[in-house]
């Protein structure tokens, strides 16, 4: 079995090599797809026992000093992530074939792109299985650089290069923090092995909290938690649709995976850790979702919604932590079950939505929802599938988003915390989650309603055709997953149950099953009711009369009079303008008969990003100012040189000392 698993690495590498060597884009795509499919099959075959809840897969590779050996160990957690990451990346590659067709026709070479997608798969195999921090960092870096190169596919555009660079810098800041944490651990354990890290972390030392915070920040940057999310909307708007989908749905789940991996290594957490994860998740969910209401770029909107959804997963993990620290198994189980399931659910519907956005972009050459409209008639397949994803991401029953959110709610509202105050706080958090749910319904209604319904707002928008099979097939498969996990919730719970057992620590995980059990009947019945009513209405409405929309007596109606995206969210933005700053550019009419044309434009920017850039500029000014003064006055230069010399001397002496 282990042979199959390890074989996937050369298969992916050979595939990547082939994509570079082959002559036509069709052959390159085939090589990438075939190698990924084979690797996926190999990995899944070798992981079948682990996925069924049996023993973990273990291999140790001997390696020259100073590493000695590299241990691979795929437990239920790694197997769970691999089981959906690899097939979804494979579907993303299939989508790329259709999506990039336009570029291929212009003669672009897709070889590098497909090779990078293979490397992304390779990074999953490494990150989700390896037990050695150096190889882990290697996989981490492969994923980061590959994602960067994938993002800048359209590198001719300066904006896209900037977004890519922004992402590259952010992800490396995260890498530095991660390296710092690993170095601290290495200095304490004299080992690069996760097992010895785990032995150190499970003891209550003062360093444990510091390392927890360092790791937390690094993983939060990877998964784009608030306030480390600023790179994400830019990168998602710039990248090709399949890359956005894979980054948001699959690649950046590695941050949450690493968080869970270190949770398992660390063992029983302290209470403050639980509260901080919970609050962090709550902040992400809150800010992520309110930012979606201001976006007019469909892909930026979906990007912010990723911040919201990882936040919801973190809320689940936070309660799991608290339940663990308090010794309340029901909280532990429901929290982790909700978080784990939400990761998978998010991967399903977020990829679906990004693919939908890509299909819109392919047909219209824009994703600006203020210019779109009426696409449901031209792109019926995309519209249907996008609607399923939108309803699921708003956590509406009977779809899958509701199942994981119900688990999180059940933990928040259970009243099982040891103190009254803690219970009250958790209930208040549930209310915030309810707010997040309602705003997400607003945002998704806005996104779908404006882009796909009504009539086209802008006559200059390109009128392309419906997506080809290579694009709608991945979408349909994701939609199928969304429906299956919603209508058959026991399937969803079955998918996470071996992983859940790792966290449940021998406790009964029936609390999660009991929470979901009513949905087993309720969701299909609701779906049946909805389907019957909808079908009947559709059937009976065929003979109806048709006439133009009533204009309240006004006869010269034009599509420009429709409600727009900014007018739809204007009321909401005004309520939350403290958090949603905007820039206004206007020239209002002045006299009774204005001589000049007037205009008004509002632009919503990301407050965190704006503040970061401001701070960077201030720091730059400060340093520039100081460095100008040093050469001016020889005393400063002398003092600075002396200080540097002393520090270097101290370091050298410290390194050679006992």
């Amino acid at each position: 079995m282990t042979v199959f698993f390890l074989l996937s690495v050369p298969v992916l590498l050979v595939g990547a090599g082939l994509t570079l060597a082959l002559r036509s884009n069709r052959a390159r795509a085939l090589a990438a797809l075939a190698s990924q499919a084979v690797a996926t099959l190999l990995v899944l075959m070798s992981l079948l026992p682990t996925l069924r809840g049996q023993a973990a897969l273990e291999v140790v590779w001997p390696w020259p000093s100073p590493i000695h050996s590299i241990a691979f160990r795929v437990d239920a957690l790694g197997a769970f992530f691999l089981a959906w990451s690899l097939p979804m990346t494979c579907l993303g590659t299939l989508y790329a074939v259709g999506y990039l067709q336009r570029y291929f026709r212009e003669g672009r070479n897709g070889g590098w792109h497909f090779a990078l997608l293979n490397l992304v798969c390779l990074s999953f195999v490494l990150i989700y299985s390896v037990q050695n921090s150096l190889v882990f960092l290697l996989g981490w870096e492969i994923a980061a650089v590959a994602a960067w190169l994938l993002v800048i596919w359209d590198y001719g555009n300066q904006k896209i290069r900037f977004a890519g660079f922004n992402y590259l810098v952010s992800t490396h800041i995260g890498l530095f923090v991660l390296v710092a944490a690993f170095m601290l651990l290495h200095s304490e354990t004299r080992s690069m092995d996760f097992v010895s890290f785990g032995r150190f972390l499970s003891r209550p030392t003062p360093l444990r909290g510091t390392i927890f915070l360092l790791l937390g920040v690094s993983f939060a940057l990877k998964s784009a938690f608030f306030p480390f999310h600023t790179w994400l909307p830019r990168a998602h708007a710039a990248a090709p649709a399949h890359v956005s989908a894979l980054m948001s749905g699959v690649i950046h789940k590695a941050g949450l995976f690493a968080f869970l991996r270190f949770t398992l290594l660390m063992g029983k957490p302290e209470e403050w850790m639980g509260w901080s994860v919970l609050c962090f998740g709550l902040l992400s969910a809150f800010f992520g979702i309110i930012y979606t209401t201001t976006q007019r770029d469909l892909k930026r909107l979906l990007g912010y919604s990723s911040t919201e959804n990882v936040g919801i997963a973190a809320i689940g993990f936070g309660i799991g932590y608290l339940g663990w620290a308090w010794g309340v198994p029901a909280l532990l189980v429901c929290g982790f079950a909700g978080g784990l399931l939400h990761i998978l659910n998010h991967a399903l519907f977020k990829c679906l939505l990004f693919y939908g956005a890509g299909s819109v972009y392919r047909a219209t050459h824009t994703v600006d929802i203020e210019r779109l409209g009426g696409l449901a008639k031209r792109l019926p397949v995309t519209a249907t599938l996008f609607l399923i994803g939108a309803l699921a991401i708003a956590a509406l029953p009977p779809l899958n988003g509701f199942v994981s959110e119900l688990l999180v709610y059940s933990a928040l509202l259970s009243g099982r915390a040891p103190t009254g105050q803690a219970n009250i706080l958790l209930i208040a958090f549930a209310a915030v989650l309810a707010f997040v749910g309602a705003v997400s319904a607003l945002s998704m209604t806005r996104a779908f309603g404006l882009a796909f319904l009504g009539s086209p707002r802008d006559a200059t928008v390109h009128e392309g055709e419906e997506a080809p099979a290579s694009m709608w097939l991945p979408m349909a498969l994701h939609a199928l997953g969304v429906l299956a996990f919603g209508l058959v919730p026991q399937l969803a719970l079955g998918a996470i149950s071996p992983t859940l057992e790792l966290f449940a620590l021998g406790h009964d995980s029936s609390a999660a099953r009991a929470t979901v059990a009513p949905l087993v009947l309720a969701n299909p019945l609701l779906a049946l009711g909805l389907a019957t009513a909808g079908g009947l209405a559709w059937y009976l409405g065929r003979s109806a009369r048709r006439s133009p929309t009533w204009g309240c007596g006004y006869t010269a109606i034009s599509p420009r009079m429709q409600y727009t995206g900014s007018s739809f969210s204007e009321h909401f933005i005004r309520l939350f303008e403290t958090f949603l700053p905007s820039a206004r550019r206007e020239r209002l009419p002045e006299e009774v008969f204005p001589q000049q044309a007037s205009h008004l434009g509002t632009h919503h920017f990301d407050a965190v990003e704006r503040r970061t850039f401001e701070m960077l500029r201030q720091a730059e000014d400060l340093i520039a100012h100081a460095s100008e003064r040093i050469p001016e006055q020889s005393r400063f230069a002398f003092a600075a040189g002396l200080v540097a010399l002393v520090i270097i001397g101290a370091l050298v002496l410290g390194a050679t000392g006992p």
Partner: protein
């Protein structure tokens, strides 16, 4: 058991019409008119159901289907609510979360239908509905969370049977009722949040969303809204009902009577109060939010621990 089931089902079919009639009657009485018959809604529905609908050429299948999906979600919520003050048709732990989200489903369906016609008015109503519900939803969860924590129950009908005698601080109980009344006014678009009888598109919320629906579709929306009124009233009635939870004839009758009383109260408020300015509506909903928050804080002084 089956008898109670049928009684619930019967109430779900009959009471929405009656309550709308009661509200209409009370409003008429306050303005010195005789008023329509109690069963006016039934006649209206019958008339609408016979008509052939007209669809805008802009619309897609979403517009056709949405009203009926809304009706189904209303009916499903009726299956969970304690219509007769005791065990409802269906009940499970955390069913109130499901309840809140299927109402959200119905709302989303109507909002999408509103955007589907591509008119400049209906989007307005949809946007307002979405904003109001985003503030209201946390208030509902605060109230339900507080009551559930206080009684140690997790199913809606048991949460709602919390009574003063159980040692609950009266503040929690009163605040919960106040918050739920505001929630009822918002969700069912009654005064002072929304004026269901106005005909100025610029100021309407719910009505402006359904401007272009006609025939059986409009009937589905009207029936769905009426069911929502009944379901909301029944939750408040169960909180008020001194015999709630006893599953007897007395309890059921008292609950239906209290539902009528709550509906009469809604009608009275509607007759005496003017509609709030749209900008002020979020503040009014924030009162519900504050009530919920204070109710939650007040549970600290509860008598007895969670079960």
């Amino acid at each position: 058991m089956t008898l109670a089931w049928f009684a619930n089902f019967g109430a779900l079919l009959v009471m929405p019409v009656v309550l709308m009639g009661v509200i209409g009657r009370v409003k008429s009485r306050w303005s010195g008119r005789k008023g329509p018959p109690i069963l006016q809604l039934a006649y209206d529905l019958q008339r609408l159901a016979r008509k052939r609908p007209t669809y805008s050429t802009t619309t897609t299948v979403v517009f056709r289907v949405a009203p009926h999906l809304f009706l189904v979600t209303s009916l499903c919520s009726g299956a969970i609510a304690p219509l007769l003050g005791s065990r409802p048709i269906v009940s499970f732990p955390f069913d109130f979360v499901w309840f809140a989200y299927i109402w959200a489903f119905g709302r989303v369906a109507l909002m999408l239908a509103a955007l589907d016609v591509g008119s400049s008015f209906e989007g307005m109503g949809a946007a307002r509905e979405a904003v109001f519900s985003s503030i209201l939803e946390p208030a509902l969860f605060l109230v339900m969370g507080a009551l559930s924590f206080l009684g140690g129950h997790r199913a809606l009908h048991k949460i709602a049977t919390l009574r003063l005698q159980a040692g609950a601080p009266p503040a929690v109980w009163l605040l919960a009722i106040a918050a739920l009344l505001i929630a009822l006014q918002v969700e069912t678009s009654r005064m002072p949040v929304d004026d269901p009888s106005t005909h100025l598109e610029l100021t309407m919320v719910h009505e402006v969303m359904v401007l272009d629906h006609s025939g059986p579709d409009l009937a589905a929306i009207q029936l769905g809204s009426a069911i929502k009124v009944f379901v909301g009233c029944s939750v408040i009635a169960t909180l008020l009902n001194p015999w709630a939870g006893s599953a007897g004839l007395l309890c059921g009758a008292a609950n239906l009577g209290l539902c009528v009383a709550v509906a009469a109260f809604l009608g009275t408020v509607e007759s005496l109060v003017a509609r709030l300015k749209l900008r002020a509506v979020p503040q009014y909903i924030a009162v519900a939010l504050a009530c919920g928050g204070v109710a939650l804080l007040a549970t600290i002084w509860r008598a007895g621990g969670p079960k």
